[in-house]
């Protein structure tokens, strides 16, 4: 008899892109979710539109670990071009499900895994006439097969289909048929279920399944963004797409049907960020979303916004770099180039969301921070977070929350108070601004990227310039107490060692921490959420002797940032890195750290 594994497996689908497998795979993940089991699906797709290999990997884990895990337990291999490596990638004792309409080459046979053949194509030819159907329903057939093999709840799956085709009801029966075909074939030919099984549980509570980019778009809408300017680029495109889609639902004037937003597809990234800067200069909340190459192109404009002190929210959905790099893979490799974007002396505010829920909250907050500090604020997302569905806390909004539009003088203020655009009235480095059109004769000023005095008058006087630069740096200090504080995973510090991480590295980092605990390795941990680093970050670092900084790039960029900004002794910070473009795994972290410790 088998030693059954309940709600703990990795299943991978190997498809050809453009064959409509994506929706079937999504349905599978959704079904697991609906059964109350923590699930994390990941799309591993090529940089083309049709015909290349694409994979969909689903980790199912009752304990709630959502990071990637090495080792594939069940592989659904329906891409004839990648059979060999797909079979090779199944871990010993695992299962390989394939379309037995065509016989497998002997060379593909392994002793140590199970092969479950099902004549998907034949079955479809038999039951469907329309060639497109014969192609498409193959995908549904293997989902049906999985229902049997993993002991899933068929009703849950069928319901998803009912909902999906609520508007095209006649498509429901053929889909259900395909499910049954796959299910029945399995039951008839193999002993089901296999030892990898799922079981309804209460593991998801009121959580939702959402992509980070969609949450970011909603955050912008709730944060009051009225102008979005963008240029298409993977993996950020869906931020814009979602923003437009949701705006059409949430931002149409019920009476006039007019739009309470402006959505501009720019001619390139330079224009996109230029539009954002023009809009915020003019008093609207505006943002753009892009990826590495876009940030590089925006560099000059970013410097203008920084020095002229104009708010801007820029979403950077990071992908594999440098250059065009790996456009459909994930990395955290724009840390330094974004923090120090543009020439001359400057530093930029960064926010590091680790879940879609945080994408939502931090994006909304980014507008408050940008307006308050009159500077560009970057949301540092990545492909994994932005384009994959994540099991996330439901999105929340306090209806009493007010936007912080920062220090803006009204016509009345101008009547009563003195106005100097760059006067540090409150001694916090943050000055008062005016919006064009406010007052007929007071408060107008000239915005420029050149050196100027406190009254926005052009100057080439080095002393005045240096004074303004110092004042701008003061904003940075002030900001430290306004940006999101780090998250700690222990009441008080227990160890002289700790781990530091941020963004999507969190999933794997937390799992690795538990793995170490099991080995009796107790470590404190901190998840950093923003630059500038607040005092808590500095304190945590100074109160530990050795810290492992986990990040997904080659050059330990975040570690450099910690050293530069906090004057930390580099010898204290041990880099734990992964840059292969796949989300980092707990195993990888565990091995690097423990190996690292053995070395000491």
């Amino acid at each position: 008899m088998k030693n059954v594994k309940i709600n703990d497996m990795v299943i991978r689908f190997a498809n050809v892109n453009g064959t409509g497998s994506a929706s079937a795979n999504d349905m599978f993940a959704k079904a697991i979710f609906r059964m109350g089991i923590p699930v994390s699906p990941k799309n591993i797709f090529p940089s083309n539109i049709q015909g290349l290999p694409t994979w969909f990997e689903v980790r199912i884990n009752g304990k709630g670990y959502l990071g990637r895990r090495d080792g594939i337990d069940v592989m659904v291999g329906v891409n004839p071009h990648t059979l060999k490596r797909d079979i090779a990638s199944v871990q010993s004792g695992g299962y390989f499900i394939y379309d037995s309409s065509r016989k497998l080459h002997a060379e593909y046979m392994r002793e140590d895994i199970h092969y479950l053949g099902i004549p998907m194509m034949e079955m479809c030819m038999e039951h469907y006439s329309d060639p497109r159907h014969q192609q498409l329903f193959k995908n549904i057939v293997y989902v049906g097969a999985l229902v049997a093999l993993l002991n899933m709840d068929m009703e849950v799956v069928k319901n998803i289909i009912r909902e999906q085709f609520a508007k095209k009801e006649k498509l429901i029966p053929p889909n259900h048929l395909a499910l049954d075909l796959g299910f029945n074939y399995m039951v008839e030919h193999f002993d089901c279920p296999i030892e990898f099984q799922v079981e309804k549980m209460n593991g998801v509570g009121d959580k939702i399944l959402i992509e980070g980019n969609a949450a970011t778009a909603l955050g912008a809408i709730y944060g009051g963004a009225t102008v979005m300017a963008w240029y298409p680029i993977t993996p950020s495109t869906s931020v814009a797409k979602s923003f437009e889609t949701y705006c059409k639902k949430l931002r149409i004037d019920p009476v006039t049907q007019e739009k309470k937003y402006a959505f501009v597809q720019a001619e390139d990234e330079l224009a996109a960020v230029g539009m954002v800067i023009g809009a915020t200069w003019n008093g609207a909340r505006a943002f753009t979303s892009t990826s590495g190459p876009g940030i590089s192109l925006m560099s000059e404009f970013i410097g203008l916004a920084y020095f002229a002190e104009i708010p801007a929210v820029i979403v950077n959905v990071q992908r594999g770099g440098p250059s065009t790099g790996m456009p459909t893979r994930t990395q955290q490799a724009d840390i330094l180039s974004t923090a120090y974007a543009s020439h001359g002396d400057k530093k930029h505010m960064l926010l590091f969301p680790s879940t879609p829920t945080e994408c939502f909250e931090m994006t909304a907050q980014a507008f408050d921070l940008a307006d308050h500090f009159q500077t560009p604020v970057f949301l540092m997302s990545d492909l994994d977070l932005g384009m994959n569905n994540h099991l996330s806390d439901p999105l929340k909004w306090d209806d009493n929350r007010k936007y912080n539009l920062g220090k803006v003088m009204s016509a009345d203020d101008l009547e009563t108070k003195e106005f100097g655009r760059y006067l540090d009235v409150d001694n916090d480095g943050v000055c008062y601004r005016t919006i064009p059109g406010t007052h007929p004769t007071k408060g107008s000023f000239f915005t420029r990227g050149t050196s100027r005095d406190e009254y926005a008058r052009y100057t080439e006087d080095g002393k005045v310039y240096a004074r303004v630069m110092r004042r701008i740096r003061k904003k940075w200090e002030t900001a430290k107490s306004h940006v999101p504080a780090p998250e700690f995973y222990q009441k008080e510090n227990k160890s002289n060692q700790g781990i530091i991480f941020f963004g999507t590295t969190t999933y794997a980092a937390l799992e690795a921490m538990d793995m170490m605990k099991e080995q009796g390795l107790q470590m404190d941990s901190m998840r950093i959420r923003a630059l500038p680093f607040n005092q808590e970050v500095a304190d945590f670092i100074s109160s530990h002797d050795e810290l492992f900084v986990i990040e997904q790039n080659q050059d330990a960029q975040f570690r450099s940032l910690l050293i530069n900004e906090l004057e930390v002794n580099p010898s204290k910070l041990v880099p734990i890195l992964n840059n292969d473009g796949m989300p980092i795994t707990a195993n990888n972290i565990f091995n690097q750290i423990t190996k690292g410790i053995l070395v000491n």
Binding site: L209, T226, V227, R251, G283
Partner: protein, 351 residues
């Protein structure tokens, strides 16, 4: 330039409809070279806004980088101004316009700022028919960087720095704007206020992209024999197609004046312009004949000036996009935030 503000300039200081004197439309003292064509254009802008009785604070001045792009400091001191980065004025203006459809947007650029580094943004602002006035102070050179040829420098013209003829054909921004479907295209000469002031007034009231290519000699680097952007050359080669006179609605009656060879065009904002034609068969609302006139002039080696094309059916970009009538920058929480209830619906749809 001078450091003494010449207050004597306006004896009597007549006031306009909103009670402002011309001085109220001026800016700080110019730091451009004495005699720079750009200063004359600044003067024309001041004159036009004064005559139109515009409220200065309802105008936003936006420019790129260059001597020309500095001029917004020298006019409309009560308007907000934005001297952005080189070649990017169009995108900044687009964003500003998106944020507040109620202001008047006056973009100032140079031929380097527009025809070289800014070419892409210029073309796309035209394509969007963004509601703005776009003035290129065209001197055929890079003034601020000391006189290199720009892309509008004519074939064979001599530039002081280098002293070699440009081997490349000049980019004709007017032809380009026409080609890209601009809804208002004009050309003038910085020295010709009688023509320029009415053109600016018409442009400012055009509900779409109003382009004025204003030849503006650079006295310092571009007034050499052989340069087709020099005072001398331009003066000799000008051919005025149409002299126009702006008529605000409230004086409609005076339309009779100059009846006969004159043509009245109803603009979208209700105001109308009177065209006095030198060439009787020229109709500025006929795109095709505008093209022909341009090509003819080019063949004859003439510089066509005046209102070359105007599309009376031009629509504000916001209307095309279907934006709300209220400026977006005036919307607050209650207009913008769907609230927790809507969010619950979204959450539910994701389970």
């Amino acid at each position: 330039m001078t450091f003494l503000k010449p207050t004597f300039r306006h004896p009597g200081l007549p006031k306009n409809k909103v009670g402002y004197t011309k001085a109220d439309y001026e800016g700080s003292i110019s730091t451009l070279c004495a005699g720079c064509g750009h200063d004359s254009i600044s003067g024309a802008i001041v004159q036009a806004c004064f005559e139109m009785s515009l409220m200065p604070h309802e105008i936003a001045k936006i420019s790129g980088i260059g001597c020309s792009s500095k001029t917004p400091t020298y006019f409309l001191g009560n308007s907000h101004g934005f001297n952005s980065v080189h070649g990017r004025m169009p995108s900044v203006t687009t964003g500003a316009n998106m944020a507040n459809r109620d202001l008047i947007y006056l973009g100032v650029s140079g031929d380097g700022d527009t025809a070289s580094i800014g070419m892409g943004q210029f073309v796309h602002a035209v394509r969007r028919n963004l509601n703005m006035t776009y003035i290129v102070m065209n001197n055929g050179c890079y003034g601020l960087t000391k006189g290199q040829d720009s892309a509008t420098a004519d074939f064979g013209s001599i530039s002081k720095s280098g002293k070699i003829p440009t081997p490349y054909p000049a980019i004709d921004l007017v032809g380009l704007a026409m080609q890209m479907g601009a809804t208002f295209v004009a050309r003038s000469f910085s020295g010709d206020k009688t023509q320029l002031v009415p053109l600016i007034k018409t442009a400012l009231s055009h509900p779409g992209f109003a382009f004025i290519d204003c030849i503006s000699p650079c006295v310092t680097f571009n007034n050499n024999k052989g340069s087709t952007k020099s005072y001398d050359y331009v003066r000799d080669h000008i051919e005025a197609t149409s002299m126009l006179d702006f008529v605000p609605e409230e004086q409609e009656i005076s339309v009779e004046y100059a009846e006969g060879e004159s043509k009245s065009v109803q603009l979208h904002d209700g105001s109308s312009i009177l065209l006095k034609k030198l060439s009787p068969n020229f109709d500025p609302t006929d795109r095709r004949s505008a093209f022909d006139r341009l090509l003819n002039a080019k063949d004859k080696g003439e510089i066509l000036t005046g209102l070359i094309y105007l599309d009376p059916s031009s629509q504000d970009l916001h209307d095309v996009m279907g934006s709300v009538k209220k400026p977006l920058n005036s919307l607050r929480e209650k207009d913008l935030n769907p609230g927790m209830e809507a969010l619950e619906v979204i959450n539910a749809s994701l389970r």
